[in-house]
């Protein structure tokens, strides 16, 4: 029982450490929501695979305080994002902006998907086409007939067997 208690206590303590949130007091729930959204959407530039909300880095801490201060001063979400982009560039946004420079980024996956579908369809169509052209040309039939007579097989016109024999005959 004591062991269990210690384990749970340790687990809780790790959790508290992993989420570096200072205690900010918000005027409203909406404001707190905006704060959480922004700090989740902005990249910490020091540890680049973490958001400002997740990072323990000094800069992330400063930027959280900055966001909080701006919210308190009545700035809205767009204004705060603009503030960050003006200073750190688009890179600070996890979701890149939609502009000519990033069209490939936004449309690329869709483009690859469409190309994939195009090729898949062509491939299937080719498969179907090769099924249809099982019919032999008169030249082939002549050749089969001569082979059959050479090997003394009875004359058969079923395509599948003809194909088999053609294979064996080689």
């Amino acid at each position: 029982m004591k062991k269990l208690f210690v384990t749970v206590a340790l687990f809780l303590c790790v959790n508290a450490w992993a989420a570096p949130m200072e205690t900010f007091e918000f005027e409203s729930e909406a404001q707190e929501k905006t704060f959480r959204k922004l700090s989740d959407e902005l990249r910490c530039l020091v540890c680049q695979n973490q958001s400002i909300a997740d990072s323990n880095a000094g800069l992330a801490e400063d930027l959280r305080a900055e966001i909080y201060g701006m919210l308190q001063a009545g700035k809205n979400e767009e204004e705060i994002k603009e503030f960050m982009v003006d200073r750190y560039g688009d890179y600070v946004l996890y979701e890149p902006p939609f502009e000519p420079m990033t069209w490939l980024l936004w449309f690329g996956p869709m483009l690859i998907f469409i190309i994939g579908i195009f090729y898949a369809r062509r491939f299937i169509a080719q498969q179907n086409a090769s099924d249809v052209s099982d019919e032999l040309s008169s030249e082939d039939i002549e050749r089969i007939k001569s082979l059959q007579s050479e090997l003394n097989f009875p004359d058969q016109n079923k395509n599948s067997e003809n194909n088999d024999m053609k294979g064996d005959g080689k």
Binding site: L45, V46, Q48, G58, L63, R87, Y88, Y91
Partner: protein
């Protein structure tokens, strides 16, 4: 005849995965050689952000208005920053060659910063202290060392991320210095 044609077609088809693989290798190879730490600054070509900060080593405040009139380097450093120590000799040489350099002490303790300068030498015209890092946010600073080149009109013309002692960083910086010195 038809057989040959089909064969050649299946040859390209057979090599298609290899070709795609090759292209991917090139693409990912280029991606690997890029340095994700180098985030281009949106501030280049824009006026230097205004700030008023206390001097590190004397009483009073420094106003960024005083940056205007001469080509200036603003060198962001801290005593906790290892690469700042590495680049310091080069910063000193730059100062000796007549470059106007302002030290921007970033998120540092006053005693540590002063000791650091006493130990390694102080090449700066002035040193300002941004203890809480608030002014640095306006400059888009995300680490140290960083060095900004500001022209006579007070426009940021270049930013070095990392030590200026790095040969490539140094050459790039000098190229811009040369370019704007003529103006």
């Amino acid at each position: 005849m038809t057989e040959i044609k089909q064969n050649s077609k299946s040859m390209t088809q057979r090599f298609m995965p290899l070709i795609i693989f090759g292209l991917l290798v090139v693409l990912l190879g280029v991606g690997l050689t890029l340095n994700p730490r180098l985030v281009p600054s949106p501030l280049i070509g824009k006026p230097a952000p205004a700030f008023e900060l206390p001097y590190l080593d004397q009483e009073g405040m420094f106003n960024s208005e005083d940056l205007k009139g001469k080509i200036t380097l603003l060198n962001v450093w801290a005593s906790w920053c290892y690469a700042c120590r590495q680049e310091h000799e080069v910063v000193k040489q730059l100062a000796k060659s007549g470059m106007n350099i302002i030290g921007f002490n970033y998120k540092d303790k006053k005693q540590d910063a002063l000791r650091w300068l006493a130990q390694l030498g102080n090449p700066y015209q002035v040193v300002v202290a941004d203890e809480n890092g608030r002014a640095a946010i306006d400059w888009g600073v995300y680490g140290a060392p960083e060095t900004f080149l500001i022209d006579k009109q007070g426009i940021i013309r270049h930013k070095v991320i990392g030590p200026v002692s790095d040969q490539q960083n140094f050459d790039e910086l000098m190229a811009v210095v040369k370019e704007i010195s003529g103006q």
